[in-house]
């Protein structure tokens, strides 16, 4: 009886509703922690595995020697390599394609590479404008590498002591 009366009074005074309203009122004035993405970015680990890049040596020579270890290790079969002999007798890739639709960004290619040629950068906000755009050719990979060489070098140095 008393219990029921208590419940009735609580209901009629909108007790629970006022509790709920006070919570939302408190959140209204709380500080917001939203990150305004294109202007602000959250910190990214130096091990982050984003868009791929092919690197060059400081003298401008491309690192990749077309050993096809990355092609072999790739679990998604995303990498296609054709090799050729250059005039100076070295073996280089004539074709180096990564299909980003197939790629699962596991980072095995980077680990398999004996000359640190293929790396995964911290870039994650890229777009393709056509269906063919998903295939990163050797030229595009080298361009990503040359554009971001500084950042790549930095992150690899940071991560080197843990490898």
């Amino acid at each position: 009886m008393i219990k029921n009366l208590n419940k009735l009074i609580k209901n009629l005074t909108l007790n629970e509703l006022r509790t709920g309203l006070s919570i939302t009122a408190k959140e209204l004035v709380n500080k917001k922690i939203t990150v305004q993405f294109p202007e602000e970015r959250t910190p990214i680990s130096s091990r982050f595995r984003g868009l791929h890049a092919l690197r060059r040596y400081p003298n401008g020579e491309e690192r990749c020697i077309a050993c096809k270890l990355c092609e072999a290790v790739c679990p998604a079969n995303a990498i296609t390599i054709e090799s050729e002999m250059r005039d100076d007798g070295t073996r280089r890739a004539s074709q180096y394609d990564i299909d980003l639709f197939k790629c699962i960004f596991c980072g095995f290619c980077e680990e398999a590479c004996p000359v640190d040629a293929i790396v995964e950068t911290q870039i994650f906000d890229y777009v393709f404008e056509s269906r063919q755009g998903s295939i990163m050719t050797k030229e595009r990979l080298l361009e990503v590498g040359s554009q971001n060489e500084k950042v790549i070098n930095q992150t690899k140095l940071e991560d080197a002591k843990y490898k």
């Binding site: 909108l14 709920g20 959140e27 209204l28 917001k32």
Partner: protein, 357 residues
């Protein structure tokens, strides 16, 4: 009112070749536009305020990309809706399909004709303005029912059925709730009701009618299909209810009607229970003279803004009611309490309880 008469004289002086009838029609048109354009602007920015307030309550920021701080967001929304294609379902009744949004927005705007904004500032001073509000306001339900039926689609029909039952039962509650106000004020003229609340905050009707005020406000949430009673739309249950088949401008008209109705209900709450255009500092010795320079319309708008904010606050807080619970709330809780309170008010009237009678 003097201001208005000078304005009428000015129009006559500027265009003397206008004879009586044309001048009157022109003046009525100008009056209507003076109400409609600010109303539509308020509706547009009310949607922005809604997204901002709800965003803040959910620890988000809300729209902030279009224009400085997102201030142009409602304009962008309006442009988007206006340029979108209006799709007619193949088997829909196109005439009724197009009539429905008109029937939704016409009453929502027509009711504003009798709302008094300040001493003497209104479009028309109808002696039965409260009856007019209830009568015209009820037509709005036809818009929703027609929209559901004319779409010839199952979810809109379900939404229409829900809205028909809901609005009918809550109109009874609102009607009875307003009866108590009429009993105290002794008039169904909104102007007189506000004038009767003159003389300070203790004369406002929310004090003798406190439970009725809460019931009226909650019922107005149902009448305007707002959360937590938005079962007519109920996105998670019936997709979007009566709005499912509407797109582009036809949808925008429903949207405008809903928000215009919401502002209307906020204004009605202020007029009925919170002293309309009267300042809350009336009859307080020092404060009255400090705030006496603020015109009554500002007080009305401030109070209305508070109730509009309450709508958003409630929407951000409560989950949607189950349909049968809303019906139970109406018939088993609100209606008995209101009827009991009618007797309480009758008793108060008989006892000449000061200061309200």
């Amino acid at each position: 009112m003097e201001l208005w008469q000078t304005f009428v004289k000015m129009v006559h002086a500027l265009v003397p070749w206008l004879d009586g009838t044309v001048a009157i029609i022109l003046i009525i048109f100008i009056k209507a536009m003076a109400l409609l354009i600010p109303l539509m602007l308020v509706v547009a920015y009310f949607t922005y305020a809604e997204r901002k307030v709800i965003g803040y309550m959910q620890l988000r920021i809300g729209p902030n990309r279009v224009g400085p701080k997102g201030w142009l967001q409602p304009i962008a929304d309006a442009l988007k809706l206006m340029t979108k294609e209006i799709i007619f379902p193949t088997k829909a009744n196109i005439y009724l399909f197009l009539l429905a949004p008109v029937l939704a927005i016409a009453p929502a705007i027509a009711v504003w004709a009798v709302i008094p904004f300040d001493e003497g500032i209104y479009i028309t001073n109808l002696d039965i303005s409260l009856l007019y509000v209830l009568a015209i306001g009820s037509i709005g339900v036809y818009g929703i029912i027609l929209a559901g039926w004319a779409s010839n689609s199952k979810y809109p029909l379900l939404g229409a059925l829900r809205s028909a039952a809901l609005l009918v039962s809550y109109e009874i509650v609102i009607g009875f709730a307003l009866v108590t106000v009429v009993m105290i004020a002794g008039s169904v003229n909104l102007n007189t009701i506000v004038q009767a609340q003159q003389g300070g905050i203790i004369y406002w009707y929310f004090i003798p009618l406190f439970p009725i005020m809460i019931i009226f406000f909650i019922s107005s949430l149902v009448e305007t299909n707002r959360a937590p009673f938005d079962v007519v739309e109920g996105e998670s249950e019936i997709v979007g209810g009566t709005h499912v088949e509407y797109s582009g401008m036809t949808f925008a008209v429903f949207f405008l009607a809903e928000y215009a109705n919401m502002i209307l209900m906020a204004v009605l709450s202020v007029i009925m229970f919170f002293g309309g255009w009267h300042s809350p500092f009336e009859a307080i010795p020092y404060l009255e003279s400090v705030f006496s320079w603020i015109p009554g319309i500002i007080w009305l708008l401030v109070k209305t803004t508070f109730f509009m904010f309450l709508y958003l606050w409630i929407r951000a807080t409560f989950p949607r009611f189950r349909y049968d619970q809303i019906m139970r709330l109406s018939w088993k809780v609100f209606l008995p309490i209101t009827i009991i309170w009618i007797f309480v008010v009758a008793l108060m009237t008989q006892l000449q309880l000061s200061p309200w009678f």
